[in-house]
């Protein structure tokens, strides 16, 4: 009898799950089953619905959570200040589960079923590439907040992170100017490092310097002995590091085990921000260089209040980083574009964006959306990791750099033929 009752409980639990899922499915034509995070959702008169699409589970969750948090912070700040065009922002969250196909499915759900006015989302290039056709087919709008490899320009995406000429190219220029001549390229095996290294090779060769090695590690590789051996044999003056995620932890720890510091092998990293420094350890990374548009230590008044608000909401131990800041900017830029357009409709907002007059006084400095390629004009900063785990600026471009995702204004890039074919 006891066993039977257990079964009944289990049966009820299973039946409940089924009912929930089916109810959600049936109801998804109007609004979805309990997805709105703020009460009084629906598409009422005084609210506007936006989507957040990040990985909250899976391997990318740890990175994307920070970005998602920054977006939520911006939304709450805007709501507290009276909303956009007099409407409060309501956000619908979907989990991309670190899986590009899930991203595509969820993007479709957001723009088609939930009828959101815009979506803030994605981190990896593969997830962005998977959702890009969805936003184009449904003529919707995505705000992509992470620096990336460039060579892309969708009319339905605004890229608020750096294009290659706002992170990679100035960093290599800086290194060449500092007298580094022998470069070693090390990256994870996926599209960003491969494209970045193609750009870097063209740039380094054009400057008369030399790439002495190029190696790729699997995304979850933990043993770097062979690669470190190749670095030792190649004797580079600087290592250009585009490793991502856990690869960085293993690589730098194994370099440290051999007592190599920034004095032996200087590295310039494009995927190490404040969060990664905390994971790897400031004692290991101190003295190494990174290139971004923003650091937690960036000295602007807006940044002081941004960092304070972020820590107040999510905890004192949290750090702000470039992607989080770019995501925060995205929400404010969308607000500015809506206000200029006087409407939330995608075509109107895109029209406002394409005037090239949408700008925002961001924590990193003033950023402006380029009306032609929908990337941001933004300042570039080379930073150095210090003992306290923060990154301090050692150089910044004299003026904000205009985005050039296809590098068409760089002669060496045109000569090397790295632009994609039509």
């Amino acid at each position: 009898m006891k066993k039977f009752s257990m079964k009944m409980i289990a049966a009820f639990a299973a039946a409940g799950m089924m009912a929930m899922s089916l109810a959600g499915c049936g109801g998804s034509a109007g609004t979805s089953g309990g997805s709105e995070s703020t009460a009084g959702a629906a598409s009422g008169d005084d609210t506007v619905k936006v989507g957040l699409l990040h990985s909250l589970t899976g391997s990318m969750a740890i990175s994307e959570k920070a970005v998602r948090d920054a977006e939520v912070l911006a939304i709450e700040e805007i709501n507290a200040a009276g909303g956009v065009l007099g409407k409060q922002i309501v956000y619908v969250e979907e989990d991309g589960a670190s899986e590009p196909s899930t991203f595509a499915t969820k993007a479709e759900k957001l723009v088609d079923s939930e009828k959101v006015k815009t979506v803030f989302g994605c981190w990896t290039s593969s997830s962005r590439k998977a959702v890009k056709p969805v936003f184009e087919d449904y003529n919707s709008l995505l705000w992509y907040p992470v620096q990336y490899e460039g060579m892309e320009q969708s009319p339905n995406i605004v890229y608020t992170g750096a294009a290659p000429n706002q992170q990679i190219v100035p960093a290599i220029e800086y290194l060449i100017e500092k007298g580094y001549k022998k470069f070693f390229l090390l990256g994870s095996d996926y599209v960003f490092p491969r494209t970045a290294n193609m750009i870097i090779t063209a740039q380094v060769n054009a400057a008369g310097c030399e790439v002495v090695g190029e190696e790729y590690a699997d995304m979850d590789q933990t043993d770097f002995a062979a690669i470190i051996g190749k670095i030792e044999a190649a004797q580079p003056e600087v290592i250009i590091n585009t490793l991502n995620g856990t690869g960085n932890v293993s690589f730098f720890k194994q370099m440290a085990e051999k007592n190599y510091t920034s004095a032996n092998y200087m590295t310039m990293s494009f995927s190490i921000a404040e969060e990664e420094v905390a994971t790897i350890g400031a004692d290991i990374l101190k003295g190494h260089m990174v290139s971004w548009n923003y650091y937690q230590t960036t000295e602007t008044d807006v940044n002081k209040s941004f960092v304070a608000a972020y820590k107040a909401k999510f905890g004192d131990t949290r750090v702000t980083s470039d992607p989080a800041e770019a995501a925060y900017d995205a929400v404010y830029l969308w607000k500015a574009a809506c206000e200029k357009a006087g409407s939330f409709e995608v075509d109107d907002v895109l029209g406002a964006i394409r005037t090239g007059e949408i700008s925002y006084n961001a924590p990193e400095g003033t950023v402006t959306i380029n009306g032609e390629n929908q990337h941001l004009t933004k300042p570039v900063r080379i930073g150095e990791v210090k003992e306290d785990g923060l990154i301090y600026e050692v150089y910044s471009t004299p003026a904000a750099v205009d985005p050039d995702p296809y590098l068409t204004t760089y002669d060496w890039a045109v000569a090397a033929g790295i632009q994609p074919i039509e």
């Binding site: 089916l22 998804s28 589960a97 499915t105 969820k106």
Partner: protein, 366 residues
């Protein structure tokens, strides 16, 4: 009447699912459903197809393959390669250009033409699984050792697809493709979407009929015999390894067909479809629906995917994986036969059938 319900229960249930799905485009036209939901249900059809193939090999034959994502992705890639070449007009793609290729590589050439592509969708996984199956089953590798090998092979293929990025576009995969019938998005292409949906539904019905046909005759009894007493089947004079290889190839081909259907709805294929985690997810669909019943695989695939689709958002966004996990644990702990097994146990046609079904499912456990 009662007797018919008992005998034809799963077919009636399947017919019910088919009718519901057939009504989906009608509901969409009436404005009761969004196109994103229709496309999602299209993907679910693909998942149901691969689950049926898995049920043949696991539920009936007792071979637990944790690597069917490999075949699903092989079919998906074959389809995607054809569709990609359609969108580039037969020229080389961006990622080939970036990878330093000057002209279309030889492996891409067959995918310039649709009939040949369809042949490749079936042939490539059949050859791969045939070779693997022949050697594995000939040397009588079974049980957990087979599961481990299937995982290792999937992992190897995954690494290879990422490493060969000039040919496969690495971990981004093949994106920005339309369906076989052209674009399926937007009002203007509604006809294409319906055509694709009904053809996919037709494929699901065909695969179901094929599976039911196979398990309903001596062949099916033999598979069960292999599952429940492999040595006895050998001693009875059957070449067990041949049967195993055949059913392995068959389920691989079914998985590949599912992958090809999936790509049409999804508009992209990435190596994450051939990960071990993805392969295990497929096994979970079958386990929850009920092994060794075919209909259970269909129910499980639809149910779990609908749960994931609706739970992984909004308020549940942080905890949905726990809910799915809990559902899986409950099923394993309390209903060994999955949902279908539960229904069979609690609503038996006659009292004698129930304990027999229970015993059967317990034996089926690997």
């Amino acid at each position: 009447m009662k007797d018919m319900l008992k005998k034809q229960g799963s077919n009636i249930c399947f017919a019910f699912i088919v009718i519901l799905l057939a009504l989906v485009p009608v509901m969409f036209s009436a404005g009761l459903m969004n196109s994103s939901t229709v496309l999602f249900l299209g993907k679910c059809i693909a998942f149901a197809v691969v689950a049926m193939g898995l049920d043949l090999i696991w539920g009936y034959t007792g071979i637990l393959s944790l690597g069917h994502g490999l075949y699903f992705a092989l079919g998906g890639y074959a389809m995607a390669m054809y569709l990609k070449l359609q969108s580039t007009g037969g020229k080389i793609t961006d990622f080939m250009h970036t990878g330093g290729l000057e002209e279309l590589p030889l492996v891409w050439k067959p995918f310039l033409n649709l009939p040949l592509s369809i042949v490749m969708i079936i042939l490539v996984p059949a050859v791969v699984s045939g070779v693997i199956g022949y050697f594995i089953f000939k040397s009588r590798v079974k049980g957990v050792y087979f599961s481990i090998i299937s995982q290792a092979l999937t992992w190897a293929a995954y690494s290879m697809f990422i490493a060969l990025s000039p040919y496969t576009n690495g971990n981004v995969g093949i994106t920005e493709i339309k369906s076989v019938f052209g674009s399926i998005k937007g009002d203007a292409n509604r006809g294409n979407m319906f055509l694709l949906f009904y053809i996919s539904l037709g494929i699901m019905i065909l695969i179901y009929a094929l599976c039911k046909f196979l398990v309903g005759r001596k062949f099916g009894k033999l598979l069960i015999a292999i599952r429940d007493g492999e040595n006895r089947t050998y001693f009875s004079g059957y070449r067990v390894s041949r049967y195993k290889t055949f059913v392995y190839v068959l389920s691989a081909v079914i998985a590949a067909i599912a992958g090809a259907v999936f790509v049409n709805f999804n508009g992209s294929i990435t190596p994450s479809q051939m990960t071990i985690a993805y392969s295990i997810t497929m096994v979970i669909w079958v386990a929850i629906g009920g092994r060794g019943t075919i209909i259970g695989a269909v129910i499980g695939a639809f149910l779990i995917n609908l749960c994931e689709y609706n739970l992984s958002s909004g308020a549940m966004v942080e905890i949905w994986q726990y809910l799915i996990g809990a559902l899986f644990c409950i099923t394993i702990l309390f209903f060994k036969g999955g949902i279908v097994g539960f229904v069979k146990d609690h609503f038996p046609g006659d009292k004698k059938a129930a304990p027999a079904a229970q015993a059967k499912t317990e034996e089926a456990k690997v």
